[in-house]
């Protein structure tokens, strides 16, 4: 059954208060660091001061003799993971890399890489013990930047990594872990047909997900191995699975309980602390709590890649693109696994390209291993493509929006990476952009306007859900995904809609790993899609059961019962004449009709709808200081169907805010030894509230027919267009194109200073 007819909906599409809202605004919600246990110890991590070094020796004797210290762990306690055990289920991580990221083996690969951990009766004693751990290093040359790391004579991070994806297999190890390539048609021929060719190089810096809540966990390992993990993450099943492999324990012995999460944005889809806390707890026999400080978060947890993006686009005078080519070089940090493939795909996916080629390089360097960050990889490639589209529009003398209308992907377009689009809403976002009042306002001096589009494929995958009708007729819904963006509200709304009951009578719960079946992590904008599909199916099963119970009560056939507005009715006069039965009535008598009424559903959701967005940004540039002010911002997005419109708008605004930070000020500053100089929010500048105007949102609804309510993922695509939208607006304002992020005041001023003398000379 589908619920695509919007007018027939009573709950979905409204804006109730989120079930977790009161707890969060009153400070009652329990986040990762809020759990304590009797007898608990505090764990702290000894980290590498070097960007790249061989570990000659680690001596923990002195630390162990410090009164109050109960355990010390080093790499020696962690098992090697054989090749066949390095991947678990459908999870993306290479667990052997992750294991060595959690605790260095042989070499440290970035400043902040963990080399040992201590558990003590107080945080102060644990800190003191860290100073007593003696680590001898042989410092090695380090490499920070992507093209330097690709050079043939670059210092090599891993001598067992040979570039994958090229034939024949290389014989020399390389920092290029992988090459990916997608092609369509013949780009050379396409470029020959072009009247105009734009060929540009863009660069981006690694940026952190900048969640407010630092990583935190509490782990208790009993003598028989039974383990409980409380932690804040994007997936309790991920925590359980990854930890089990890294420490060498059976999954059945681990129960992972999800805390509330204070932001993740992809950065909490892997583990850092849990395996170390596990080892310390196992060795000490006591629960161990670990909480990172902000500095550790910056030094040791995942940013997304810094990158070089080379874009070449050819077009006819009328604006039709004849060929497009991108070469993307992404930093992966200390271990392979940058999101370069998504960058390759997403940048070009917006357009209908007769000929296309994209090549991506996954490149190691002595920085923290990158972690997923909101639409991983896509914003980087799109910054290049969407900037180049603007440059092309300028060159052709065609309005940038028009250029996108001419070349934008439509239903039936075959994307460069393979699929043929169905039910996509990109053109609809362009129409809504064209119609928006924002475009009709005029601009003052030093002000400019930019537009940019973006794509994210969204995800489906494995989800479980349970729907329990309680004795009083209220409903409990259990899902297996941590609620990051308001998904509890959405889940409860979909269930309330299916059951025909008020939203307030449905309580959603994020279950621990023993309370609900396996569910993949919250990520890829998958939860409202996949989790929503699972809860909808569970609720539908419950409806079937409720009809059956009414049929038993009335002694008629279940086929003769109809479920409407939260009640069972006899279906037509032939079925007999009975008073309708609501949930309360049926639940109260469930013992007499067959027992508790519940349904649990496990699915591997397919058919997530792709997400497209187009953004409009106005800026004003202070030409004397280089400061860029965002004057107005409008985000237009195909959201499929907004289950809870406020939380969809919130996702769109959040993505824009993060994108604006990426565009304007966020960057890591390393000294010449590869040590991070700005590991805090004072000098790692995410936007503050007063930096942002109210971000206007336009939700275009092109329902995804593969979801019962038409939902598509909405959380990630809004971070894709902002960097180019801002760069395009700056170029419009001052006539100078910035191709390197961040477009911070010194960079903007330097760019202005470069062109001003030329302009004056020309005048």
């Amino acid at each position: 059954m589908s619920y695509l007819d919007k007018d027939a909906l009573k709950v979905v599409g409204t804006r109730p208060i989120r079930p977790d809202g009161v707890d969060k605004v009153t400070g009652r919600a329990n986040f990762g660091a809020d759990m304590t246990m009797p007898g608990m110890l505090w764990g702290k991590i000894k980290r590498s001061p070097h960007a790249h070094a061989r570990i000659v020796s680690i001596n923990t004797d002195k630390a162990l003799t410090l009164p109050g210290v109960k355990a010390v762990t080093t790499r020696a306690d962690f098992p090697d993971i054989p090749p066949e055990k390095r991947v678990l289920g459908a999870a993306p991580a290479n667990l052997w890399d992750l294991s060595r990221n959690c605790m260095a083996k042989g070499k440290v690969l970035y400043e902040g890489h963990a080399v040992a951990a201590v558990a003590a009766v107080s945080p102060a004693i644990a800190e003191q013990a860290l100073d007593l751990i003696e680590v001898e290093y042989e410092v090695l040359p380090h490499i920070m930047d992507v093209e330097a790391a690709m050079a043939p004579d670059a210092p090599i991070l891993h001598d067992d990594i040979f570039t994958a994806g090229i034939e024949p297999r290389p014989t020399k190890p390389s920092n290029i872990a992988k090459v990916v390539r997608f092609a369509k048609g013949d780009v050379e021929a396409g470029f020959r047909e072009a009247d105009v060719i734009i060929e540009r190089r863009y660069t981006t810096k690694p940026v952190h997900q900048a969640y407010i809540e630092p990583h935190a966990c509490l782990v208790s390992v009993a003598p028989d191995g039974q383990t409980t993990i409380w932690s804040s993450s994007q997936g309790q099943f991920m925590v359980r699975g990854y930890t089990s492999r890294i420490v060498g324990a059976d999954i059945a012995n681990i129960r992972a309980i999800p805390a509330e999460i204070g932001g993740g944005f992809g950065g909490k889809t892997i583990v850092y602390l849990e395996p170390l806390a596990y080892m310390l707890s196992k060795k000490s026999g006591r629960p161990v709590k670990m909480v990172m400080n902000r500095e550790e978060v910056f030094r040791a947890t995942g940013p997304t890649s810094g990158a070089v993006v080379e874009v070449k686009i050819g077009a006819k005078k009328d604006g039709r693109i004849t060929a497009a080519q991108t070469v993307l070089k992404y930093q992966s940090g200390a271990f392979p696994g940058s999101p370069v493939q998504q960058g390759c795909i997403c940048g070009l996916a917006v357009y209908d390209l007769p000929n296309a080629l994209t090549i991506g390089y996954d490149v190691l360097c002595n920085r923290p291993k990158v972690a997923a960050y909101r639409a991983p990889g896509a914003p980087i490639g799109s910054f290049g493509v969407e900037s180049a589209m603007d440059e092309l529009a300028h060159e052709l003398g065609i309005d940038p929006l028009k250029l996108r209308e001419i070349n934008g992907a439509k239903n039936g377009t075959k994307a460069a990476h393979g699929p043929t689009w169905v039910n996509i809403g990109y053109q609809q976002t362009l129409e809504a952009t064209k119609a928006h009042a924002h475009l009709k306002t005029s601009l003052g001096p030093n002000q400019g306007r930019g537009i940019a589009s973006g794509y994210w494929h969204n995800a489906g995958g494995e989800s479980s859900a349970a729907c329990h009708v309680n004795e009083d007729g209220t409903v409990t819904v259990t899902e297996g995904h941590p609620d990051i963006g308001g998904s509890r509200a959405s889940m409860a709304m979909m269930v309330a809609e299916v059951l025909g009951v008020p939203f307030e009578t449905v309580r959603p719960v994020v279950g621990d790993t023993t309370a609900i079946g396996f569910s993949a992590s919250t990520g890829g904008s998958r939860v409202t899609f996949a989790g929503g599909m699972a809860v909808t199916q569970a609720a539908q099963k419950v409806v079937e059961e409720l009809k059956k119970r009414a049929a038993i009560t009335w002694d008629i056939s279940p086929d003769a019962v109809e479920w409407k507005d939260g009640k069972a009715y006899p279906a037509g006069a032939n079925a007999g004449s009975f008073e309708p039965l609501d949930l309360t009535a049926i639940a109260g008598k469930s013992a007499r009709t067959g027992g508790p009424i519940s349904a649990e559903v496990q699915i591997n959701a397919q058919g997530q709808g792709p997400g497209f967005a187009t953004h409009i940004c106005d800026v004003e540039v202070d030409k004397e200081t280089g400061q860029v002010k965002i004057l107005r911002y409008t985000a237009i997005q195909d959201v499929g169907r907004a289950i809870h419109p406020s939380y969809v708008e919130g996702q769109m605004q959040g993505g824009v805010a993060q994108g604006v930070g990426w565009a304007l000020n966020e960057e890591y500053i390393y000294d010449k030894d590869g040590k991070l100089e700005n590991p805090g929010f004072l000098d790692y500048r995410v936007p503050v509230a007063s930096d942002m105007p109210m971000i206007e949102t336009v939700m275009v609804e092109v329902p995804n027919p593969r979801h019962p309510f038409g939902a598509r993922g909405v959380g990630e695509v809004p971070i894709v267009p902002p960097m180019a939208a801002v760069a395009n607006a700056i170029a419009d304002a001052i006539g100078v194109r910035l191709r390197d992020l961040p477009m911070s005041p010194p960079r903007v001023l330097a760019a202005l200073d470069q062109v001003e003398p030329m302009r004056q000379a020309a005048e």
Binding site: Q627, E677, L682, R685, V688, P745, P746, A750
Partner: protein, 289 residues
């Protein structure tokens, strides 16, 4: 922090005794918005903390003999709420007001901002530009010093062991005298000045500058009084030529470093820009009086 003593004396003498008493590092505590942060990060490891806020007079503003007397620990909110002071020295108030957020403003003081000895401290340039002085109590009694004599380098002050600032004296403005403070930060708030500039000017009835002080922050190890900038202003209206001379003088006075907050080149340029913009504000204000 194994041995950290905390006291909150109620007299100046007592406070001096506690600060001078021990062998280790003893720190006065005003609002704590720098000190506590440094304590927690481990950058500062004092043995004694002496909270001076309970000493009568340390919090509050009074007018006395043609001067404003500001208790050393007076928080930012009280400064901006004092109508007469705000009217007299809008530049000092706007500098102090830039410090942190609402929460920080409830605590952050002028003495703390000064004695933390950051070249980027936001309240200091306008205080120096206004020729403010401070009263310092110590084991040898009290002494007075101009504000610019306190900071001698990043994190270092000229205060001797046992000394602390009790109050600031700020003269009342002369006719047609006013001030302004501007800072440049990459964001709109919650940031540290890349450059700060305080300008204090006195005009004659025709808008010609008769006296001036231009003070830059964050462009050298300490705040810089730019004598050449004052010279560029005195005897002139704020016209294009004066502005150019002011800009150049400010740029020449810069001895910045390249660090995570800005490059030498950038700081130098922006110092000139801010000097011009702050002067414009100060001239407008002074002219309007």
């Amino acid at each position: 922090m194994p041995n950290l003593s905390f006291t909150a004396p109620t007299t100046v003498d007592e406070a001096v005794r506690m600060l001078a008493g021990g062998a280790g590092l003893a720190k006065p505590l005003s609002g704590g918005t720098d000190l506590l942060v440094q304590l927690r990060s481990g950058r500062m490891r004092p043995e004694a903390i002496v909270d001076i806020k309970r000493i009568p007079g340390l919090i509050g503003i009074r007018e006395e003999a043609g001067e404003f007397v500001i208790g050393a620990a007076t928080p930012g909110v009280m400064l901006s709420a004092h109508k007469a002071f705000e009217h007299a020295w809008p530049g000092i108030v706007e500098g102090a007001d830039l410090i942190g957020s609402q929460q920080i403003q409830g605590r952050a003081s002028l003495a703390g901002n000064l004695c933390n000895a950051s070249p980027a401290a936001d309240s200091v340039p306008a205080m120096i530009a206004a020729r403010a002085t401070c009263v310092i109590a110590g084991p040898n009694g009290r002494r007075t010093a101009p504000v610019e004599a306190i900071v001698i380098g990043p994190g270092r002050t000229s205060l001797e062991k046992g000394e602390f600032i009790v109050e600031f004296h700020v003269p009342k403005p002369k006719p047609h005298q006013s001030d302004a403070y501007l800072r440049f930060i990459p964001r709109t708030e919650m940031d540290i000045a890349v450059v700060g500039c305080g300008v204090n000017v006195t005009l004659d009835g025709n808008g010609v500058c008769t006296d001036a002080r231009v003070v830059l922050g964050a462009v050298a190890p300490t705040q810089v009084i730019v004598e050449d900038a004052a010279k560029a202003l005195i005897g002139h209206r704020l016209d294009e030529i004066t502005n150019a001379a002011l800009d150049a003088a400010a740029q020449r006075a810069c001895k910045p470093i390249t660090d995570k907050r800005g490059t030498i080149e950038y700081r130098t340029k922006v110092a000139g820009v801010l000097a011009r913009r702050a002067a414009k504000l100060a001239f407008e204000r002074a002219g309007a009086r």
